[in-house]
C-alpha cells in the first residue's frame, strides 16, 4: 500500500536528494499514527482528571468534564478550591515528609540488596544458585496480601509494628523478588568477555562488581528505582496495615480527606496531581540514565 502511495509520476529534481528520507518518513506514517492514537487514548483519562480537578463539586456532579472544555467560558464552574483543600489540609506537609522518610529507604535498600544478589547469582559459582534463583522468581507470583497477617504477627511479637523500620522491611521484602529478577536479567547479559578481561587484569570480585557491573547496570537500576519509588509512594494497603494512621503519610491522609462516607471524592482529583509531583521529579531526574546506551564501545581490542 505504501509503495503505490510513495511512487509519484513526477519528481522535481530538487526533491531527488531527499527522496529516500521522505520515503522512509511516509512509510512510517501508519505506525506513527497508531502510536499517536494510543498516546491520545491513554492520556484522555488524565486530561479528564485534570479538567475535573479545576471544577467545582457541583459541576463535577452535574456534567462530564468535557462539558467543561466545551463551555470553557462558563467561569462559574472553575475553581482552585480542590487544590487548596488538599494543599492546606492539616498535616499535609508532615504527610509528605513521612512519605519521603518511608519511600527513600524503601527504594535504596531493596535495590542495593538486589544488585548484590543478582550479581552473585549471575556470575559467582556456588552450589544451589539455580534453585535459589527459581525460588526468588517463584516469589514473584505470591500476592503480598497473603503475607499481611503472618508478617503482622511477627511484627507485633517484635514490637516493630507502626515503625518506619517495619515499613522499610516490608517494602524491601515485597520489592526484592522483582528487583533481583530484573537486575539478574540485565547483569547476566553483560558480555562475559568484559568480566574475563577484567579478571585477567587482576580485578578482585569486589572490584568487578563495583567498577564494572554496577556502572553497566545503571539503566536497569534506574528503571527499577522508578518502579519501586512509585509503588511505595502510591502504596496505601501496606501503609494501613503496618504503619497505621497515627502518623500521616500522603496516601492515608488523602484517603481520609475523602471523608467517612466518600462524600468528598472530588478532592481526589486535585490530590492525584499534587502527589504526582514527587514521582515526576524522580522520573525526569533518572530518565537520562536509562536512555543512555551504556554498553556502546565497552569491548575494545
Amino acid at each position: 500500500m505504501s509503495d503505490t502511495a510513495v511512487k509519484k509520476p513526477y519528481v522535481r529534481p530538487s526533491a531527488v536528494a531527499g527522496e529516500k528520507k521522505s520515503r522512509a518518513l511516509i512509510a512510517g506514517i501508519p505506525a506513527r499514527a497508531f502510536i499517536l492514537a494510543i498516546v491520545v487514548i491513554w492520556t484522555i483519562p488524565t486530561l479528564g482528571l485534570l479538567v475535573s480537578s479545576f471544577r467545582t463539586q457541583l459541576a463535577i456532579a452535574e456534567t462530564g468534564w468535557w462539558h467543561g472544555l466545551i463551555n470553557f467560558t462558563d467561569f462559574a464552574q472553575w475553581t482552585i478550591a480542590n487544590y487548596e483543600r488538599v494543599l492546606f489540609a492539616d498535616d499535609m506537609a508532615n504527610a509528605f515528609f513521612n512519605s519521603l522518610l518511608i519511600t527513600i529507604p524503601s527504594t535504596v535498600i531493596p535495590i542495593t540488596m538486589a544488585a548484590f544478589a543478582a550479581h552473585s547469582i549471575a556470575w559467582m559459582v556456588f552450589p544451589g544458585r539455580k534453585i535459589l534463583f527459581v525460588i526468588i522468581v517463584g516469589l514473584l507470583i505470591v500476592p503480598l496480601q497473603m503475607a499481611l497477617i503472618p508478617v503482622l504477627r511477627v511484627y507485633t511479637r517484635h514490637g516493630i509494628n507502626g515503625t518506619y523500620l517495619g515499613m522499610w522491611l516490608a517494602h524491601t521484602g515485597f520489592g526484592l523478588p522483582l528487583a533481583t529478577y530484573m537486575l539478574y536479567g540485565y547483569i547476566s547479559s553483560i558480555p562475559k568477555s568484559i568480566l574475563e578481561s577484567a579478571h585477567a587484569d587482576g580485578a578482585t570480585p569486589w572490584m568487578m562488581f563495583t567498577r564494572l557491573v554496577l556502572p553497566l547496570s545503571i539503566p536497569a537500576i534506574a528503571s527499577f528505582s522508578i518502579f519501586q519509588f512509585l509503588w511505595v509512594w502510591n502504596d496505601l494497603l501496606v501503609a494501613l496495615v503496618f504503619f497505621g494512621t497515627r502518623r500521616p503519610i500522603v496516601t492515608t491522609r488523602l484517603a481520609e480527606l475523602v471523608g467517612s462516607r466518600g462524600q468528598s471524592w472530588h478532592v481526589l482529583t486535585a490530590g492525584a496531581f499534587i502527589t504526582m509531583v514527587v514521582p515526576l521529579i524522580i522520573f525526569f531526574s533518572l530518565q537520562r540514565y536509562f536512555v543512555r546506551g551504556m554498553m556502546a564501545g565497552s569491548v575494545k581490542g
Binding site: P150, T156, V241, T245, A255, E256, V258, S260
Partner: protein, 444 residues
C-alpha cells in the same frame, strides 16, 4: 564511576539520617495533664494518668476531629490519653489486625454483623465482664441493648452514634411555591408524587450506585417498607432468618417498592438510572436550579454529600420529612443504623474508656458540633443544636425502632445476596428468581 559510588553512599547515609530522625520523632510524646486523675466516675478511683487507649474506626477527617473533641473531657479528667486512628478501609483492616495479633484497644464498628463475626472468633470482649446490665440500662433503652446482644447472651459493645434512615428530603422553596403539603401517610405520598408529575416535575431522585456495595439503598427501602406493613415481630423473624425472603410478607414489600421505583414518570432518568447514579449524588438534583427532582429518601448522613454552602432546614435549600406510615395501626416506625464500640483488649484504662463511651456525656462534644444523633437515652434534647433536634425527635417519638436489617443478617446475605438481589430486581429480574436466590444463599 567513583561518582556513582559516592551517589550510592550519599543515598545510604541519607537513609540512615532519615532513620535516626524517624526514631527521634517517634520518641516525642505528648503529656496529658490531669489535675486530679482519680476524681471521675470512670476509673473506679484508680490513677491511670499517662496510660494510652487506642481506638480504631471508620471515622476520618472531619468526623475524626469531632470524635476527638468528644473525648477531650475524659482525657482532661482522667489523664488517660485516648488516641483515635481512622481509616476508610476499616472493615478490611480490623480483620487483618485482629488476626495479626495487633487489634486496637477499642474498635468502632459501623455495622454489628462484622462485630459479631469477630466476637465469635474470640476477638471481642463481653461487656458484662466489666459492667452490669443495670449500669447499661441507665444510658440505653432496652431495645438498643438487645441489638448489641449476641445469641449466647454476651453484650458485644456499647452503641455510640446512630443515623436515622426513614427520611425523605425535599426542597422547601418549591413546596411553598406549589402549595404542596408534607404527606403523613403513604397514600398521600403517592398522591403528592402524582400531583408533581401533573405539574410537570419529576418527583423522585433515586440513586443506588455504591461500588462493591451497590444495592444497600434498595435494602434500606425494603426494610423501611417492611416496618410499615408488618408488626415488628415479623421484621425480627425476617432478620433472624425465620421468615424467608420468598414469602408473601416480603413480596408485599417489594410490590410497594415497585409502585414508586418502576414508574418511569416518578423517577428522574427513569428506573434505568437508579443503578448508575452514585448514591451520594442522589440529593443533588433537589438543590439544583431549577430542581430536577423533588423527593429523595436517604438517611441523615446525606447532608455530608450536599454541595458546599447548601443550607439544611425549613427555610434552607433542602429539608426532610419522616417517611410516612403505611398502616396506621403500626404507628410510626423508624429505621436506624449506628456505630458500636467494642473492646478488644482488657486493661484498666480500656475499661474506663468503655464506661465513658457507654454514657451520653461522651457524645456531647460531638453532637454539639452537629451531624450527630446519640443512641443514649440519657442525652437531653437541648444538647442538640437546633438543626439536629428534628432527627433526635424522630427517634424519640418513634413507636418502633429497628436496626438496618441488612447490617444484622449474616454477611453472605446482608452485604451479599440481598444487595445483589436488589440490583437484579432493579435490572428487571422477576421476584420469582430474585427472592429464592437470596434464600438459597442464607447460611443455615
Amino acid at each position: 564511576m567513583q561518582k556513582l559510588l559516592r551517589i550510592g553512599l550519599t543515598l545510604l547515609v541519607l537513609s540512615m539520617i532519615t532513620a535516626l530522625l524517624a526514631v527521634s520523632c517517634a520518641r516525642e510524646e505528648e503529656t496529658v495533664a490531669a489535675t486530679n486523675p482519680t476524681d471521675n466516675p470512670w476509673t473506679g478511683g484508680d490513677n491511670l494518668a499517662g496510660t494510652e487507649v487506642i481506638l480504631f474506626g471508620a471515622y476520618v477527617d472531619e468526623d475524626a476531629a469531632r470524635f476527638r473533641t468528644a473525648m477531650e473531657p475524659f482525657i482532661e479528667q482522667t489523664g488517660i490519653d485516648v488516641i483515635y486512628e481512622g481509616s476508610g478501609d476499616f472493615e478490611a483492616l480490623i480483620t487483618v489486625r485482629a488476626e495479626g495479633g495487633d487489634p486496637p484497644d477499642i474498635a468502632v464498628f459501623p455495622q454489628p454483623g462484622l462485630m459479631t463475626d469477630l466476637y465469635q472468633q474470640g476477638h471481642v470482649i463481653d461487656l458484662r465482664d466489666w459492667m452490669s446490665e443495670s449500669d447499661l440500662r441507665e444510658s440505653y433503652e432496652a431495645s438498643w441493648i438487645d441489638m448489641s446482644r449476641h445469641e449466647d447472651g454476651a453484650i458485644m459493645g456499647a452503641w455510640y452514634r446512630t443515623s436515622v434512615k426513614s427520611l425523605v428530603w425535599y426542597p422547601p422553596a418549591v413546596f411553598e411555591e406549589e402549595g404542596y403539603e408534607i404527606p403523613t401517610t403513604w397514600d398521600e405520598l403517592l398522591a403528592l408524587s402524582d400531583q408533581m408529575v401533573a405539574d410537570g416535575y419529576t418527583p423522585w431522585s433515586i440513586s443506588m450506585e455504591s461500588g462493591g456495595a451497590t444495592g444497600w439503598v434498595g435494602t434500606d427501602w425494603i426494610e423501611d417498607i417492611m416496618l410499615r406493613i408488618h408488626p415488628p415481630e415479623v421484621y425480627d423473624a425476617w432478620v433472624a432468618g425465620d421468615l424467608r425472603f420468598d414469602s408473601p410478607e416480603v413480596r408485599e414489600a417489594f410490590e410497594y417498592l415497585e409502585e414508586i421505583w418502576m414508574n418511569d414518570d416518578y423517577v428522574l432518568g427513569g428506573a434505568g438510572s437508579i443503578l448508575t447514579v452514585p448514591f451520594g449524588d442522589g440529593a443533588n438534583p433537589l438543590v439544583m436550579d431549577p430542581p430536577r427532582a423533588l423527593l429523595h429518601r436517604q438517611a441523615s448522613f446525606i447532608t455530608a454529600f450536599l454541595p458546599d454552602g447548601t443550607e439544611v432546614g425549613p427555610d434552607g435549600d433542602i429539608n426532610f420529612f419522616y417517611l410516612p406510615q403505611i398502616k396506621p395501626e403500626l404507628g410510626d416506625p423508624v429505621l436506624v443504623a449506628g456505630d458500636i464500640m467494642s473492646a478488644m483488649r482488657d486493661r484498666p484504662e480500656v475499661r474506663a474508656v468503655m464506661r465513658y463511651l457507654a454514657t451520653g456525656e461522651s457524645t456531647r462534644g460531638w453532637l454539639e458540633q452537629g451531624g450527630f444523633v446519640a443512641p443514649h437515652a440519657d442525652v437531653p434534647l437541648d444538647w442538640y443544636p437546633a438543626e439536629d433536634r428534628p432527627y433526635a425527635e424522630i427517634v424519640q417519638d418513634a413507636d418502633v425502632v429497628r436496626f438496618d436489617a441488612s447490617d444484622l443478617m449474616p454477611g453472605a446475605v446482608g452485604t451479599g445476596s440481598f444487595w445483589t438481589g436488589m440490583v437484579d430486581f432493579v435490572s428487571g429480574d422477576s421476584l420469582d428468581d430474585v427472592l429464592p436466590a437470596i434464600d438459597a444463599s442464607w447460611p443455615r
